[in-house]
Amino acid sequence: MNVSRRGFLKLSGAVAAVSGLGISLKPAAAHAKELKIKYAKETTTVCPYCSVGCSIIVSVRDGKVVNTEGDPDSPINKGSLCSKGGSIYQMAVNENRLGKPLYRAPFATEWKEVEWEWAFEKIAENVKKSRDASFKKTNAKGELVNRTEGIASVGSAAMDLEECFTYQKFLRGLGLVYIEHQARI
């Protein structure tokens, strides 16, 4: 993506102003301090929290997020963010993110790290078993229903639009009718 020249100038101005206010360095030292987004590559995103749709600039250097801040070009937020939107940095730079698939066997007391391939295969076997055992071709009245009654799904407004479409495709292809998500609660 391209941040417009106008937007970039506004943005750099905003950063400088914040540094000047928020950090108590001596004037000389402050002058010498380099912008933390120097040499960084910028992309835009939209805040994943509430539904206002604030635009955010993400600055990345050497594959790491070094800064996130409000996108001044957005006609919606014009550079502003709330406390949550302002913390997106910590979503990416966070040691507590899950990095490996975890598995908990029946009656086990702990998680076990597993390989994706193993997890996918085991989930697929479970899905097939549950589906085959609960599949109803017809209902009590004898009407064609072609549905899987033994599996339910909730989620998710936290996914992208494209993923929502794809997910409902998968679920309905499986025959699920118990399909719900955040919109209901």
Partner: protein, 834 residues
Amino acid sequence: MTNHWVDFKNSDVILIMGSNPASNHPVSWKWIQEAVSTRNAKIICVDPRFTQSASKAHLYAPLRSGTDIAFLGGMIRYILENKLYFEEYIRHYTNATFLVNPALKLPGDNKGVFSGFTNGKYEKDTWSYQTDGAGVIRKDPTMKHPNCVFQLLKKHYSRYTPELVSKICGTPVDKLLEVYKLYGSTGKPDRAGVDLYAMGWTQHTVGTQNIRTMCIIQLLLGNMGIAGGGVAAMRGESNVQGSTDHGLLFHIWPGYLGTPTASLPTLKAYNEKRTPKTKEKNSLNWWKNFPKYSASFLRSMYGMNMGLEEAYAALPKLDDGANYSWLQIFDDMYKGKFTGFFAWGMNPACSGAHSNKVRQALTKVDWLVNVNLFDNETGSFWRGPGMDPAKIKTEVFMLPCAASIEKEGSIANSGRLQQWRYKAVNPPEEALPDGDIMSEIFFKVKELYEKKGGPNKEALTKLTWPYGKMAGKHFHYDPRKVAAEINGFFLADKKVENPTKKGEFKEFKKGDLVPTFAWLQDDGSTSSGCWVYCGSVTPDKGILPMRRDTADPTGLGLTPGWAWSWPVNRRIIYNGASVDLNGNPWDPSRAVIKWNGEKWTGDVPDGAGDPGKGRPPFIMKPDGVASLYGPGLADGPFPEHYEPLECPIEKNLLSPQKNNPAIKRFDKKGVGSDLDVYSGVTSCDPRFPFICSTYRVSEHWQTGVLTRWCPWLAEMQPGMFVEVGTDLAKEKGIKNGDKCIVSSARGEVECTAIVTPRFKPFNIDGNMIHEIGIPWHFGWITTKDRTYNPGDKKAEVFTHGDSANLLVPTIGDANTMIPESKAFMANVVKKGVK
């Protein structure tokens, strides 16, 4: 949202009721403030609690949780009595003139219910319209006939006097009148008013009718379709608009096509039943196009792998009249009906009403797949409070997924604006985008069915999935391909007549993108994953949600070149109602659309035919006009005040019918389970004397599933609290900072007391009634004193307390089944005090 966030700046009066945008949609306040600064707009806030929004309002009125219909019903009465309504607007653009069946009985004459109530539900035959021999609805343009909608509306709300409303809501009469007068001032053509609502209106047994009441007010005042008007549903998640549009609910396919039921065995029967018909000669009745959208959706599922009828038959059908929604899922799960469960990007162990029931239900499934960014109370339910893992059979897969900045794709905000997000960095370690994960699972299941077979296997194996390619060991999902699929393609070469220019034809080639949904076909020659998004991807300009043009030609903040909004990039829906019958804007200074003699300028026009041709503008309604009278709902054609299921008073002061008669009670024999208990239903329960409502704070989001793991946010809001009014705190011996136990008939949760004048007791018909409030963002997984196994993730800043939903009842709205989290009965005591 009918309008969009920036449009708040065009309002003259902003009614904040059922929401708290200053805390929960903070950046929207920029535009509320803009209206105040530039137009001298006035802000009204109506809320049980003196919220952050209330603190910025010009006028604050308290009301008891769960009495919004009484409050707004009183406003309807005031508007009608004082003739503040916009007469020309309602005569031409609403069903005010329609004559209703004389057999209809209103609750005031029928013991609090509408006619037709039998065996716990309504038979709606007396709610119908009168028609002439040709089936056309009979109307009285003078709106004086006693059976016309306008007169019925007057009669129905004549009972909602300020004195009675004040007794029900606990709002002083003078405050009521002040609000009514100020908001009623927007009934003039050059004044605009908007209501901002959120879960404060939906999470009630009368949730849908809360919103209906406001819609009636907005129509009476001519506020629908205009800049600065509308009804603003401020949604709680960044893409809950989009996920709803794309049918992740039991009752709808993408694009709001009702899920087929068992009594409709063929696509033909389904289309026949679901396509509305009208005898109103000028009505466009847009949903007449339903068969084009259903056929195009089926093609987006199976392409040419199946015929349309075959595809329809292959997909699952609901039993007629059955409900498969949230509360039902966890009830069925608790009773052992499911062996498998996906909790994908969700944390129901904290977000589900009566979380203890949800957590118990999770022990009954054989396997659970939980996809999330962090460890959470759902994936780890088996080691939560009160659980003995050695006795829990559930096999759990907790799959790590990419965060929003670690993949690309789009989301739709409350203003229906679809914006694209780009990938900034890779996800941590082995975490994958959701799209990759679901594709991998799909391919594995498909492979098993191809090898081993199984019932109706083609429904799965014949799904098309051209959504990416293998990259190394994994399938790499490509959202750009899916965006095009959602838009839709021509699947065969075809010559099509221009839907807006008779006699003009356009030739399409197989594989061409469909320009807009007006070009979709019912014969299987087009696909479209979600018809309302058709037009979002074009051959020359690509994916329109990527656009970043900030130009604002109208000055109204429509910015038509910034991203893309459905439908057809229209920024204000129903804008055909912003002009008079001759195409002139009601308010020329705020013209959303304008006829320049040849064509419409401004926003993409909605429902506006050529001026003077008489087309009514609400084209999604079969009869072309908006519904003051709404016979389609489960619980009545006009909203009527009923008490919350759990309530602090013995009877409904308005009628002998205490609760919404059409709700589903899970405590009835043969319906719910042993865990479905309510308090204070038949009479007040002294164990739980206070009204309790849940809400949010700025620093956390939903169950806190993400935000509790972010140390900056956890530091700012570190845990569960209860807001207790000063008087009640004194009575209960509670001081600021005391540890307290808040309990309901279903559970309890430990909270830190915030003693505050923000809650004041309500005077309800002479009784002092207290309300308390709790946030719902917390959960045990990020607390300090739980058991940590080696390798467990440990929050950098701990939070304290568990979910507010442990207390919430399993009772839902009569139409949507959204749980009543905003008004239930509870107790609060200092910890250690009985």
